[in-house]
Symmetry: C2
Subunit: 515 residues, 2 copies
């Protein structure tokens, strides 16, 4: 476990008339002796003055701060006891949300956590509108400035919670999708959404914090997780690292679902990835009542197939405010099993229930009546929402089948299916199988792995092998472009039924011979 | 011959749906194929955006600009034809004077030359007063700013003369003494003049122009010639590289004389250097009439030993304005041979001449009468000036003898004595031998090598072997500190006579049994 920034205890004899070695040269030589390579660290110009001054002030004895970069070690500071720990920040740079954690790099101890909304939302709610905004005069700089300000705010908050100064943060690892990585580095994202969808860079070299305007230590290395393509970014590579997918002999799969569904399958020998638009449905982004998983979100729904009685649970236990992705999947699976919807995902008003109401946009199903909710407005789920979920689940399953088929294996050959993010944390695989969204496998195959984008960033801060792995991974991953894939389109049609037109694929799901 | 910045002709297939490699990653890979190491260049953050944008704009075909640094190759730009040459600037960063040349790095062709006064003179005429100035609040920043402004001005001038823009200069190699290198890099020179006289850094890593506020291309590598100690800087290391001293099997010596005399002796196996205060006399910095070698300076003097008649030559041939170092050496040697001074360097007014005049400061010798000079004032040379020359020549010879003695060789074992700088260009070794300043060797042993500080900087720009050599040299050179050397003090006493107390050391010089 070699952290991204390492402290080397140094105590050398001071200079004398018999030894005219310069201060920095002396320090570099002493550090080189610690490396098996014997290689002297470089000293970036921005840190040259302070290293030399601090080394002398400390009486040539103290701790050298060395960034361990792929291009070689880099000496950035010299500190005196009692500072004994290097502190680093891991960051999941999401399109809507930023999540960060402060770590002690030698012990791995978590010192603080913080999160905030992505302040770029002001300039565009989604990636696409921000890319268009970036093309306007000054747009890219504004978006870059906004995200840097946001990261600075988070860093200050983390430092404050840990009782440190922001300058005491000496490393940053950022994990985000390819567009967010471009914004973070102030690189033009124009081509990301234009055929053939090529990033300006997939694997940027680490830079130093001050170069980006970050207020953490000026010599802090900023490691941006490498990505594979426009639609398979560093956040996914982080997930692969965090899951261990690329280190196992056995074949496993990793699924990350947001507005896009990103999937990768493979083992230590090979890795194939693809991504496709899943629609916002599975993030809770449907209709009026959809919401992110958070307090007041309906996250679990059950309907008694016989009585038609509905029960639900909200996150935090309070009155419902809306319904999140996992709640929606539960709901639709239950609606199917209790026969409120048919195999095409259409409401069956023939099944009498006082939960059906007519709205301006057609029939809707009442998940929670106005009397039960936080704001007095009923939580409704309409046919349009249902249609969105059907498209999303069809997309999801088609992506998975296209990918395994491309590889030439069956789902039953997968050791694990890792499910990342809020989606993985909250959904019940059983219900997702009922919908025909996930393959019909034993439930223990599915492993929720939480925010693996953040977890991968943490590993990179703590462990040299993770750093090597993520850079090798991106060279190993084959990316399958679904936008032009005929097979995907054909599979998509068959997946637009519950659970599927080919019923044999889902033996555990009851099939109803309908009306 | 591998220049510091190299152009690589690149033409790769553009991205497609089948190949999602990022633009920069694609370019880096193509460049790596050109290296025998197969190593991919790093891309510094400050150049990342422009490299990617320019590469795409050029249709993935053009020329990659790569800095070949000791830490590895660094990709800094991508340019389209017709730009076919990389242009770099070599700079001799002198305490009083800057000299620069603009080179085409592939051909070595000199495009322009320029020079100017060191604008730091405003804050202190000599090194010592500037080091004191640097210790005042804001002083170091002011001195750093002054020298950077000065270099920018020179660079603009060079570019203008070559019909280029200043941003088209893509490399800079700076050769200067250790104090000037510290000022240039904004490093505190405080300890350079305090025992044990240790620089903050002897071998700084190359940085990029923009980091120093230089207006040449932002990605231009700035190579500061490494030094050996406070009194043996990069200018001398440049001289060693330019002379070839460190590449020969035979032992030679290099002498560079300014206010300090710096001397190095050795061959490809070993090198020993020392430096000592020679006083300003040999630079023309004596008395009221001393001046740098320039138009109007008396540079040659002859006195007929029999008639006592004096003739002189000025630089440029015009009326005399003063006397420079080579003129002073000629003058004092002639005064000795014509017996106007004795072996202790004292005027002998007994030898009648109308050239002796009484001044407020004692006896003086008239080199040129008021009627002959540019400003109507006579060019006088007084006893105080003579005393200064005697101290300087004694220091010089003691340094040389202490050094060869330390090494255990005789002067006659030296293949060459390279004499650097204006001193080397202008003095006549014969006269210097007469004075007992240089050892009594056949005249062809002495080789003037001009501004070898600048010549070394040029070599570093043009030739990878010179870059390797200068970094290895500084590790190989043993520095002998004369400030605490007893032997030096003893030798100094014996050298305060013309030519020397030990007459056998100078068989070619007439010895007069005096009064």
């Amino acid at each position: 476990m070699q952290p991204l920034v390492e402290l080397y205890e140094i105590a050398v004899e001071g200079p004398s008339l018999k030894d005219n070695t310069g201060d920095l040269d002396r320090l570099r030589r002493a550090i080189a002796e610690r490396f098996s390579s014997g290689c002297e660290p470089t000293v970036p110009y921005s840190c040259m003055g302070r290293v030399a001054v601090n080394f002398r002030r400390a009486g040539f004895s103290g701790r050298a701060v060395v960034n361990l970069l792929p291009s070689g070690p880099e000496l950035v500071d010299f500190i005196e006891p009692p500072s004994a720990h290097i502190v680093g920040m891991a960051l999941d740079l999401g399109t809507t949300h930023l999540e960060a954690v402060l770590l002690e790099l030698d012990s791995g101890k978590r010192l603080a956590e913080a999160n905030c909304e992505n302040s770029q939302i002001e300039f565009g709610a989604d990636i696409l509108s921000r890319i268009h905004y970036a093309a306007e005069p000054g747009g890219l700089d504004i978006l870059h400035g906004a995200i840097i300000a946001c990261v600075n705010k988070l860093a200050a908050e983390l430092a404050d919670r840990a009782g440190l100064l922001i300058e005491e943060i000496r490393a940053l690892c950022v994990s985000g999708n390819t567009t967010m990585a471009h914004f973070f580095l102030n690189l033009d994202p124009y081509h990301l959404i234009r055929e053939p969808y090529i990033p300006l860079v997939n694997m940027p070299d680490p830079c130093r914090a001050a170069e980006l305007g970050l207020l953490i230590d000026r010599g802090a290395p900023v490691w941006v997780m490498p990505g594979v393509g426009s639609y398979f970014g560093g956040d996914l590579v982080s997930g692969v690292v965090a899951s261990g997918l690329g280190r196992s002999d056995k074949v496993s799969m990793l699924i990350d679902v947001g507005t896009n569904a990103e999937v990768i399958v493979g083992n230590r020998e090979w890795l194939i990835a693809c991504a496709g638009a899943a629609g916002p449905a599975l993030e809770g982004g449907v209709a009026r009542m959809g919401m992110r998983a958070g307090p007041g979100a309906v996250e679990r729904v059950e309907i008694d197939p016989d009585s038609g009685e509905l029960s639900y649970r909200t996150i935090g236990g309070g009155k419902p405010r809306g319904i999140c992705g996992s709640g929606i999947i539960d709901l639709v699976a239950s609606l199917y099993l209790s026969r409120f919807i048919d195999i095409r995902g259409k409401f069956r008003p023939g099944r009498n229930s006082d939960r059906f109401v007519e709205t301006g946009e057609g029939l809707a199903f009442v998940v929670a009546g106005g009397a039960e909710t936080a704001d007095g407005q009923p939580v409704l789920f309409g046919q349009v929402d249902l249609d969105a979920v059907m498209r999303s689940k069809a997309a999801m399953y088609s992506i998975l089948t296209t990918l395994v088929n491309q590889v030439g294996i069956g789902f039953d050959e997968l050791e694990h299916i890792y499910v990342a993010g809020a989606f993985g944390r909250h959904i019940a695989p059983r219900q997702a199988i009922t919908l025909g969204m996930l393959p019909d496998l034993p439930l223990e195959v599915f492993k929720p792995i939480g925010n693996s984008s953040l977890a991968g960033a943490e590993l990179v801060l703590l462990d040299g092998q993770a750093r090597t792995e993520c850079r090798e991974l991106v060279k190993k991953i084959t990316y399958l472009e679904l936008n032009v894939n005929q097979e995907f389109m054909i599979r998509f049609s068959g997946s637009r039924f519950i659970p599927h037109t080919d019923h044999a694929l889902f033996p555990s799901v009851p099939f109803f011979n309908e009306d």
